[in-house]
């Protein structure tokens, strides 16, 4: 029998403090687009969406836009050690991923146009498994670049084809 050793702690590092603003902007855009789509449909096809439904949607969207980024900011965390990468993501459903440094295959640096405006970038670490990419969203650009360099160097130091 395997002895229970305790549960995992959260990864040590938070993402950039500016990340919630980016997420909030995204949430706001999504909410507005959906609302505008419904409004347009109301005009075009003469559907009568009752006022209470609009009010309900507005309340839900407002809640999503205000609460979600804060919530996510506390959940989205990451950590690297000499031997492993550890990430945590999600907000209602939480997912933690751990990959040993010796199995890291690629380290990707990504930056969308909007993220660039915020000075943010994402890092994705892949292994040989299709099920295991570790994604760290919206770090400070400097932190992300440093992380990519560091991970690439460490992964190179390991041998074998990582399968």
């Amino acid at each position: 029998m395997v002895e229970p050793t305790g549960v995992l702690r959260d990864p040590a590092n938070l993402v950039s403090t500016r990340a919630p603003y980016l997420w909030r902007l995204g949430a706001l855009t999504r909410s507005l687009v959906l609302g505008a789509g419904a409004g347009l449909a109301e005009l075009l096809w003469d559907v009568d969406v009752p006022l209470w439904l609009w009010a309900g949607y507005a309340a839900a969207a407002l809640g999503y836009v205000t609460v979600m980024p804060q919530f996510r900011y506390r959940v989205h965390r990451w950590e690297t050690t000499g031997t492993a990468v550890y990430t945590q993501s999600g907000w209602l459903t939480r997912e933690r991923r751990i990959a040993p440094m010796s199995r890291v295959q690629t380290v990707d640096f990504e930056q969308s146009a909007v993220a660039r405006a915020f000075g943010l970038a994402s890092v994705t670490v892949t292994t040989a498994s299709a099920a295991g990419p570790l994604r760290i969203d919206d770090l400070d650009v400097a932190v992300a670049q440093q992380l990519v360099d560091e991970l690439t160097r460490r992964a190179e130091a390991e041998h074998g084809d990582a399968t």
Partner: protein, 489 residues
């Protein structure tokens, strides 16, 4: 000429491959040709098109033969083809995971084999050579696998091959119980009845008094008889399909080359080789139907097969008695694949989740039908019958929980799960390349987590469903020491 010189020469496909496609076309037009001779009239629709139907494949074949070359240089296999657009594909020999030889009946008459080389690097990482002579194909396979093994002495020969399992035609009794058997049967039925649907014949039948007579016979009798007939046809087709695919099934282990060879097929023969170094474990498939009859199937978890596609995973034993399956599994992985006693159950919270998730949605059926009956326009008997749905769901939940278990051996991780598609996954601990721990809101409240071991082989991810959080962490730490411990609170 030395071996090396021979290797570096460009080689071509076998000239006999030119015959394969025309013969295929002739077979396709066989009904037409027979009609031509028997009826003496070819019909009015233009003959030239049919000659074209033979000429085009011949032309394509000639071009393909002339333009395809391959060679093995020091460390890689190189394949070039194309006349105008040139395509050159190379694969490193130490990345060659699998070599499959396939021969359709036409290939077999011509003594040819199609060679498929799996490199497992990308989704389309397969090099295909259609076709080589049987001797040449076998030689190429030996070369590739020797190089892939690298450290092993070459030319071990097949003398010290050890047969792990040999086909027993009696196993065909399991065929109707497998989903693949069912799929084959349904597909065959569809193909057979498709042309008749909507044709004059069907319309005439619909008009006939037969329908009237049928109506007079008690409806249940018709349904039962129809069901039995369908079942019989489906079973027969399933068995035929099983025999065609698995006739002569043999699994051998080539000790010197450290390779498993699977050979099977009645008409189209197929032989697959899996390098032992690429093997990461086995999956014992125990779907409900097979399990009830005491059967199972075995497939390999190996790198180099196309990702997440079932037809490309290597079968090690087709539907067969569970004892055979387990014995072969044990021989392949080198240890006992877990007796029922070795599995740890997941506890009351996991049991509760199985029942809730199965029964709650199933309750919808009787409730909805009950409401409809109360409203007055649906019969109460229907709502009464629908009560069986949640009862069946509860039985399913019970089975799902009873099977849910995990275990750890000296070199493998064992995961047993599922009911209708039940499986026992046996994964090498050294093949695990990461852990995912996933918790939904409800799982968090119940203190459970789904622990997924990721790997480069097979399904890429093997999940241990709804296990207590501390147990999951302890399991991950014990299976792959030195990884998760550093993150424990």
């Amino acid at each position: 000429m030395t071996e090396l010189e021979h290797d570096q020469e460009w080689r071509r496909l076998d000239l006999r491959m030119l015959l394969v496609h025309p013969v295929n076309e002739v077979v396709r037009f066989l009904p037409f040709l027979i009609g031509l001779f028997v009826l003496g009239s070819g019909g009015q629709d233009g003959g030239p098109w049919h000659y074209l139907g033979v000429a085009v494949p011949v032309a394509i074949g000639v071009v393909r033969f002339a333009s395809t070359r391959f060679r093995i240089t020091g460390a890689q296999i190189e394949l070039r083809r194309g006349v105008l657009g040139r395509e050159i594909r190379t694969a490193r020999l130490d990345r060659v995971r699998t070599v499959e030889l396939t021969a359709s009946p036409i290939h077999r008459v011509l003594r040819l084999e199609k060679v498929k080389i799996g490199t497992g690097s990308t989704e389309d990482g397969t090099l295909e050579l259609d076709s080589l002579g049987t001797v040449e194909a076998a030689r190429l396979r030996r070369e590739l696998l020797d190089r892939a093994g690298a450290v092993h002495p070459a030319e071990g020969g097949s003398a010290d091959a050890e047969v792990l399992v040999r086909f027993d035609p009696g196993w065909a009794r399991f065929a109707p119980l497998t989903t693949s058997g069912l799929v084959v049967a349904v597909a065959a039925l569809g193909a057979a009845t498709g042309p008749f649907l909507g044709s004059n014949l069907e319309l005439r039948l619909a008009d006939a008094s037969v329908v009237e007579q049928v109506r007079n016979v008690a409806l249940p009798a018709v349904v039962v008889l129809g069901g039995i007939t369908l079942l019989l046809i489906a079973s027969t087709l399933g068995i035929v399909g099983y025999l065609l695919a698995n006739w002569n099934f043999t699994l051998t282990r080539d000790v010197a080359q450290r390779t498993f060879h699977v050979h099977r097929g009645a008409l189209t023969t197929r032989s697959t080789s899996i390098d032992l170094d690429r093997l990461r474990g086995v999956e014992i498939h125990e779907p409900l139907g097979l399990r009830v009859a005491g059967g199972g199937r075995l497939t390999a978890i190996a790198t180099g097969f196309a990702r997440r596609s079932d037809e490309n995973t290597a079968p090690l034993v087709p539907a067969a008695p569970l004892a055979v399956v387990r014995a072969v599994a044990g021989a392949v992985i080198g240890e006992e694949p877990g007796s029922p006693g070795t599995f740890h159950q997941h506890g009351p919270q996991a049991r509760r989740r199985r029942y809730l998730r199965a029964v709650l949605p199933a309750l919808l059926a009787p409730v909805a039908l009950g409401l409809a009956a109360a409203a007055g326009d649906w019969p109460w008997t229907l709502a009464g019958a629908a009560v069986l749905v949640p009862v069946a769901a509860a039985a399913l939940a019970r089975d799902r929980y009873a099977r849910l278990g995990h275990a750890l051996t000296s070199s493998h991780v064992l995961v047993r799960w599922g009911s209708l598609r039940g499986r026992t996954d046996v994964l090498q601990r050294s093949g695990i390349i990461g852990w995912n721990l996933r918790q939904t809101y409800f799982q968090r409240r119940a203190g459970l987590v789904s622990l997924t071991a990721t790997t480069a082989a097979g399904q890429q991810a093997y999940e241990i469903l709804d296990v207590r959080e501390d147990v999951a962490v302890g399991f991950a730490a014990a299976a792959v020491p030195g990884l998760v411990e550093q993150f424990v609170r």
